[in-house]
């Protein structure tokens, strides 16, 4: 079987298209590359959707945490503490079983027990909490002069936020937010190991890498392939976020621009 046929069979296997049976014997390098790559679709899907939706909630949470009113501040603080203080792995398990119980109450919750929605909800809340904290930090370090200038120009309320505070907050938070995005993509590998079932063996990249490692009893091939894919993904994320970073900093003189430093910090 040539590699092209393998690609035709397995390239979309993680979405349920193509050959139904996974390879069982005589694993070729091509099969491992194609199937693990196919699984990456899930990682990218979870990453992008959680990131985009989480971004808005994160802004709201950051503003909430910075608010004077304790009725707004306390829930935001608790939200951040809840999701940053506990392991993502446990959050996945907990959410899965909560959704499973809710399923008995109403059929509205049926899709939540499958990974594509249930895990996405958890990742969305989780990244919102982590980025919320980053945005809050940035909000605290907005130069006083910027807000004073906005006041002097007679800006207030929404237009002050939209034109001065929000762009500055994003600019200051962006390097840290890039790291958050990278680690969010890494965290997506936990999904299929934490309760959420991989129906008909439609799993993510790590699911297939683990499959091959279990079957061949040789971890030295599938895991480096997975690592290669993730390094590529990381580079793409850094590139895209770098473009946004340039745009956010475009009004600054060259030497005051902050470049994105890649700092691995978080495991959830």
């Amino acid at each position: 079987m040539s590699c092209w046929e393998t690609i035709a069979d397995y390239a979309l296997r993680s979405q349920g298209f193509g050959e139904r049976l996974l390879p069982r014997t005589d694993f070729t390098l091509c099969q491992q590359f194609v199937l693990i790559g196919s699984g990456m679709i899930w990682n990218i899907y979870f990453g992008i959707f959680a990131l985009v939706s989480g971004f808005f909630l994160a802004t709201a949470v950051a503003l909430g945490k910075a608010a004077e009113n304790p009725l707004v501040r306390k829930p935001a603080e608790w939200f951040i503490f809840l999701f940053r203080g506990s392991p993502l792995f446990i959050q996945f398990f907990f959410a899965y079983f909560v959704f499973l119980s809710l399923k008995g109450v109403s059929s509205f919750f049926d899709p939540f027990t499958s990974a594509w929605l249930g895990a996405l909800v958890v990742l969305f809340l989780n990244t919102a909490a982590y980025s919320g904290e980053i945005f809050y930090g940035a909000l605290q370090s907005i130069p006083k002069g910027d807000t004073e200038a906005a006041d002097a120009y007679g800006l207030s309320g929404w237009s002050r936020f939209r034109r001065v505070i929000w762009p500055t907050m994003l600019r200051l938070a962006w390097p840290a937010y890039t790291n958050e995005a990278i680690f969010l993509f890494h965290a997506t590998t936990l999904v299929f190991f934490s309760g959420f079932p991989a129906t008909q063996q439609r799993g993510d990249a790590l699911y297939y890498a683990n499959y091959f490692a279990d079957k061949t009893f040789n971890p030295f091939v599938p895991y480096p392939i997975l690592a290669g894919y993730f390094i590529l993904l990381t580079l793409v994320v850094i590139g895209l976020f770098g473009l946004v970073n340039n745009r956010l900093n475009r009004h600054l003189p060259q030497d005051r621009r902050k470049s994105i430093k890649y700092k691995p910090q978080v495991i959830r």
Binding site: T25, F27, F81, L82, G85, S86, P87, L88, F89, I90, Q91, F93, F94, F97, V98, L100, S101, I182, H186, A187, T189, L190, F193, L206, A209, N210, A213, K215, T216, F217, N218, P219, F220, Y223, L226, A227, F230, I231, T234, L235, Y262, P264, Q265, V266, I267, R268
Partner: protein, 294 residues
């Protein structure tokens, strides 16, 4: 456990719960909490040692050593850590068995990898096939600790490497001016001073380490996640005196609260340590403390 538990059918409410939560099976999950704490207690210093070695290697004057150190630090970047966990457990196991195989059965002529099998001679099996159950469990736990130490060692190395560079250059130059050689400068000046700079990073790492402990489950150790799944599942009356529907939600809720409390306590303790260490230091935090007191 309690005397009144002998006949579960007569119990209700809190007495039922008190009996339910003290059954023999439930003791396993409490022991598993002990396992997690033990893992933390062993891993934290080991990872710190790995990190120290990595950071010292990364700033070594010998090029190959420096490359090894830098690669070690860089290796956890860009790749999901859970992939490392899954990888190292098999890889380490096979590496140990391979080494023992080479030593114990030198005249073995078949290849070790036969198709999809990894075959070593019986004497090299780890743990030996006839070993008691606890040896198997301890070996599994040992592999898990080593895996955690390697992965978190890389993170610690990153932190310590940064801390070593944060020690003011003037300090090192002064040491040289006093005629200390490189080794003395390193041990007497650099190492004692780097901890203040390393502590914020290390306390962050500790939080991260706490949050990584449920991954023990993926390494095949019977930890709290394993028991929560096991005990929470629906129980039928014919198998147990304490039947209940699917309670896994509550068990994982309890784990969530356990971790939140653990994080909170660590946060408070680490803040105290930090406050004590920065006391009187010529750093921004130390200055703030001085001003607040004055």
């Amino acid at each position: 456990m309690f005397a009144y538990c002998s006949d579960p059918t007569t119990l209700d409410g809190f007495t039922w719960l008190s009996c339910y939560l003290t059954t023999g099976k439930h003791m396993s999950i409490y022991w598993a909490v002990g396992t997690v704490l033990l893992l933390l207690a062993i891993t934290a210093p080991t990872a710190l040692a790995f990190g120290f070695a990595g950071a010292s290697a990364a700033r070594s004057a010998i090029a190959p050593l420096r490359w090894i150190g830098k690669t070690y630090i860089a290796i956890v970047r860009g790749i999901p850590d859970i992939a490392f966990f899954l990888f190292f457990v098999i890889a380490l196991d096979q590496a140990f068995e391979y080494l023992r195989h080479k030593v114990k059965c030198p005249d073995w002529d078949e290849p070790i990898r036969q198709g999809n099998d990894f075959v070593v001679c019986t004497a090299a099996k780890l743990p030996l096939g006839n070993a008691p159950q606890w040896v198997h469990e301890t070996y599994g736990f040992f592999l898990a600790v080593l895996t955690f130490a390697i992965v978190f060692g890389a993170f610690a190395a990153n932190v310590l490497f940064g801390a070593m560079r944060a020690v003011p250059k003037g300090q090192l130059e002064t040491a040289e001016a006093y005629g200390m050689n490189q080794r003395q400068t390193f041990w007497r000046v650099l190492v004692p001073q780097m901890w203040v700079y390393a502590l914020p990073g290390l306390s962050n790492l500790w939080m991260v380490l706490i949050k990584a402990t449920p991954l023990l489950f993926l390494l095949g150790v019977e930890d709290i996640v394993y028991w929560a799944r096991e005990l929470g599942g629906a129980k039928q009356p014919q198998f147990t005196d304490y039947p209940h529907p699917d309670w896994r939600m509550w068990y994982f809720g309890a784990l969530l609260i356990f971790y939140l409390c653990f994080t909170k306590v660590s946060e408070v303790v680490l803040d105290r340590i930090m406050a004590r260490l920065t006391h009187g230091q010529a750093t921004a935090a130390g200055e703030r403390q001085r001003k607040a007191a004055a």
